[in-house]
Symmetry: D2
Subunit: 369 residues, 4 copies
């Protein structure tokens, strides 16, 4: 739809640059009457915020979110919710060189070509800081989902960090116990050593993230351009540095035969469908089936690295680039809460398309409050 907005009934518009005074988002279309306060949003932002350990950028941001509108007496009113996060630890002087020289693999050359005039400080709008606003919006979506689809639960985790995949049995309880949100204590240990090495070498690496939604009601999504998977693909691909998106079997579906791909169906004790497998990732024909919705996406390695790369300047001179400043060696780590947030926003949007934004008249004269 518009360039800085996503969603159709639950619509999020983000704004703000990495080194401007603030960033945030307008959340439009949240149903009325949902319990919401700053603390419940802060919980999600704290998961994404930088500087929490040696594996993320050392920029120190509190990422404190303020609700400026749309909430009254602790509940949403149905009007737009403005969420603002002030930037406090910008160090713009670090970026002087970037104004003139383009980093290979970074958006700065594309922004320059398109706009001529850009905010180069910290990547401006192409910075990972933009995703803080998504996480805040995702917090609103989660609050609404908690009320409207009580059994729904969204979990994101890393399944690959650079050369190393998640291996061995998955232990979901581990996710919150390591800096990589990986469901395996052993893998976390292996990755820590690997990333320490990369960080010291001034290098970086990519990542693969999986986000699973359990308890999704069947019937979300619509043929043909409002498919649930279409919107999930767009949502994940819109996260900066993402280069691929998969639903269920994903790219590997190309390798399967029809027999192997068929998720066989039997009846459960309640007379409702039970599936023997989930190659579909919970979505058939663009519509949720009631199985877990499974999305994976790949984040490319941070392009701001200490290893010199050949590049050019804005004025048309060949040069070499080494990027100092504070950067995540694996920006994919912080993409985990972002992927969860996007999943929440897309699911709520589709739920509202089916059930409506208020469900009908909500205030009746003479009724008990």
């Amino acid at each position: 739809m518009s360039h800085n907005t996503f969603g159709h009934l639950f619509r999020v518009t983000t704004w703000g640059e990495s080194h401007g005074p603030a960033l945030g988002c307008t959340v439009d279309g949240c149903p009325p009457g949902i319990a919401l306060d700053e603390a419940s949003l802060q919980r999600w932002l704290d998961r994404r915020k930088p500087g929490q350990n040696r594996y993320t950028t050392q920029r120190r941001e509190a990422d404190a979110v303020r609700i400026l509108s749309g909430v009254f007496e602790g509940r949403t009113t149905g009007t737009p919710i403005q969420l603002m996060i002030e930037n406090t630890d910008q160090r713009s002087k670090d970026y002087g060189d970037i104004a003139e020289t383009f980093r290979p693999g970074h958006a700065d050359i594309a922004y320059f070509q398109k706009y001529g005039h850009r905010d180069y400080r910290g990547g401006g709008r192409s910075s990972a800081r933009e995703t803080a606003a998504r996480v805040a919006a995702g917090g609103v979506a989660r609050a609404a989902l908690a009320a409207l689809a009580p059994g729904l639960r969204i979990t994101g985790y890393m399944t690959r960090m650079g050369a190393h995949a998640l291996e061995g049995p998955r232990d979901m309880d581990q996710i919150d116990k390591n800096p990589f949100w990986v469901p395996s204590a052993e893998t976390a240990e292996r990755w820590a050593a690997y990333l320490d090495g990369l960080r010291k070498a001034g290098s970086s690496c990519g990542a693969e993230i999986e986000v699973v939604a359990e308890g999704v009601p069947p019937g979300l999504g619509a043929p043909v351009y409002g498919k649930l998977d279409t919107d999930l693909a767009a949502a994940m691909m819109s996260i900066n540095a993402v280069k691929g998106v998969e639903i269920g079997e994903g790219m590997a579906a190309a390798r399967l035969t029809g027999e192997a791909n068929a998720d066989e169906i039997t009846l459960g004790p309640d007379g409702q469908p039970v599936y023997a497998s989930n190659h579909a990732g919970g979505i058939l024909g663009g519509i949720s089936t009631g199985q877990d919705v499974v999305v994976r996406f790949a984040v490319k390695p941070t392009s701001s690295i200490l290893t010199p790369r050949a590049s050019i300047t804005r004025s048309g001179r060949e040069t070499e680039v080494v990027t100092k400043g504070r950067h995540d060696p694996c920006v994919g780590i912080r993409a985990v809460p972002v992927g969860e947030a996007m999943m929440a926003c897309v699911l709520l949007d589709h739920l509202l398309r089916d059930r409506g934004q208020t469900g009908g008249v909500r205030g009746r004269i003479g009724a008990e409050d």
Copy 2:
């Protein structure tokens, strides 16, 4: 973003079921003055149409496209272009069983759950026949691109069929010379044998398609939710049976280091950027750089197969399903022209966002025609 519409300034709305009287699309936002006739659209539809060889469904459809509006004296007027394709070879009796029993891996159970009431004949709206309308719309987009971005060229081809990848050197001249649009004569031979085997066994397989756009002007796409790759991901994921989408390096970007991923830049003889590699797939920060735009997507295997699979009925009974009727053993083959069409539509839409739908006043009193 309505459910059967895609695009923002170049907007396509498709309609029609597999076994209804007709299907088609409304193309809204095509610039005025573009040369267009039915023959130039038919050329693209003929590439996609079924029944051309033993590797696609034996349903015989001429897929003859009619232009019902928006074109006058051989040129577009800027008003909506209605394209209609009549269905002529429906055999609805083949689908009697499907009304009651759901095919594992097929959209029919999801449609039933969502809508209660569905057109089960030939999959209704979830059928691959819907993609004929996309190819017609893509033909309009190509005509406009030919006028507005003369050097732009879009090529699609298969890079995997089930167990077998495209191997050996790529020979683009081969693409139109084999039924699989694969750029390798040897691979085509190997795939023919493989698919013959699958077809005889009543099986099916998935496919991977790559679509490349050369000559894309830099500056297409916009941060943050109108990224060129976001819209390409949505466009490809909206094609039926697609389960994954990749831009450039795609999912493999997760495995790379920052040094490996950096597409180093030097200056060409014209003083403009030359890239040493194209991990980015021609897009940085959601914006085209002038490199080739490279998209890949995976199509799952056809779910209508002759091998029996466990399933259930609408009335709540366990059963086994064997799907007769006429089906593509590898529906991904015909997805090649569909992927090209989606690429054309997305690129034109973004070109118009930057340059406008008319470029300013076009008719001046007293001017030569």
Copy 3:
């Protein structure tokens, strides 16, 4: 909103020119399970179709509507409904002059300036024929409203024809008994004489139409740019030749004091609000209150007249224009069913925004049909 589409969840895209092979619309977002057939739509089209009496254009069009998709076994499926009306009585030769000379007050000069290349036959897309597609779409909306908001009833009528206003007491039973849809037998007689005079003189006149919706549930519409009155204003102003739109008191609200404008509220026997007046036209703050929704709009006189007017040619020459061909002396007459149709579409769209497109899961395994 795209250029030939209106609505957010219930979306209508119209296409077709006055003298092309056909015209029609795609109706996207109609809820599933609604009873619909061609006869029920034809009923509304027959009210608008030309050539029914001496007061409308003598072009003879059956305006027979065909449903090409989205309906199966007499009920909507939730997928897009394509409605097509073939043009049968075009006489393009009548319009030879118009290609070169612009009619004062007509869209042809504006189309030429914008597009350079236009379909001048019968006004192309600016013709009143486009409104046939709206009436067809309105028929779908009415069918859905009949199911979802049973007490809702929409009635349009003329309140002014040129120099003559509707006068005397209103008798709603008269609306269908005269060619002007005016709720007064005496006024109808007076208008007939007036219009006969204008027609013979080769002149034309404007009209004012009022559309009232009774039984509208409270709570439709949303602040601030999705107000019910905002969408009604846009819907009515988008009808060709409309120059003004009023809600309730309309432009006359400027003349009132706060006391006079206040619709005083008491309680009805059911404990719900009863209003002493309806200056608001049933809408406060953009949201329906449960009172009748009242919209009025003005249609300018037909610009194709036999009286010579000063004008210019495309090649830049001054001239005089006299328009022959077949035209409505008061095109506003046929705008009555069009206004009703737009009201139906807007109300349904807002109802769906509040209650959703399906209301939740509709097909349950094992349930009775």
Copy 4:
């Protein structure tokens, strides 16, 4: 489109309540490279801000606007521009009664019915304070228009205040010299006396505002649902308290004959069209012709008055309402700069649709800055 957003390429999303901490808007789609600072926006806000004379609410707000994003080194970057205005003079205790009792003619009953839960302080989101955000957005649009359509000039003024119309010759130089933006010193004097009387009596009155845009390029607007007048009608009707919108001749077009309505055309010295009159209001077939674009709208009287009116309470009791607090006796006065702002936004949006958001690639390697 979405509920708190308007525009298609130049998109404005407003947020904020009358008595929350702040209000503002996100302006998305402003072209890059436009000179913009807070002072240039403040100029427009100062025209609308309350408390400037005895004819507007005595609430004292500085309405100081802050630019939080999208501008770098004094020029727009093409990314979203966040504008924030802090509320400083809320007196929420004034509104205690309103929480329980509904004001006849006010949105509070409709909000309650729709949402159940609302921010009743100062009308929440239905307050005229929301329009401050529109004026800020309009300031951005004006800055862009100044660069892209240099001769374009927008002027708004009052043409009626309650019982009294603007009379006598129009003297545009007077507009900025009286508190009513009326182009006549004598009328201003008459209105001052009239409004003093109303204010003392605890009453209020409606108003009619006209907004004229000179120098609008021909070709803006598009058939059929993206007409320039359609979008203007929606824009004006979305302003709170507006009940009618007219283009050119407006509702009076219903009274005209075809001859009277025809704006005859001759050729000017430059060979381009010259019109003898402007019944069309500068728009034919939804497209600008190059004549002045003329829009009028009516604002109903303020519903918060000191005269007692019959009403009901939320809990279902009949009562009488007298509204104390600080209110505009004629809220239409402050609608003048709001109408201008909406005109600017709509015109820019349509200009961008035709010419594009960047006009093509803007940053070229090696070019002079």
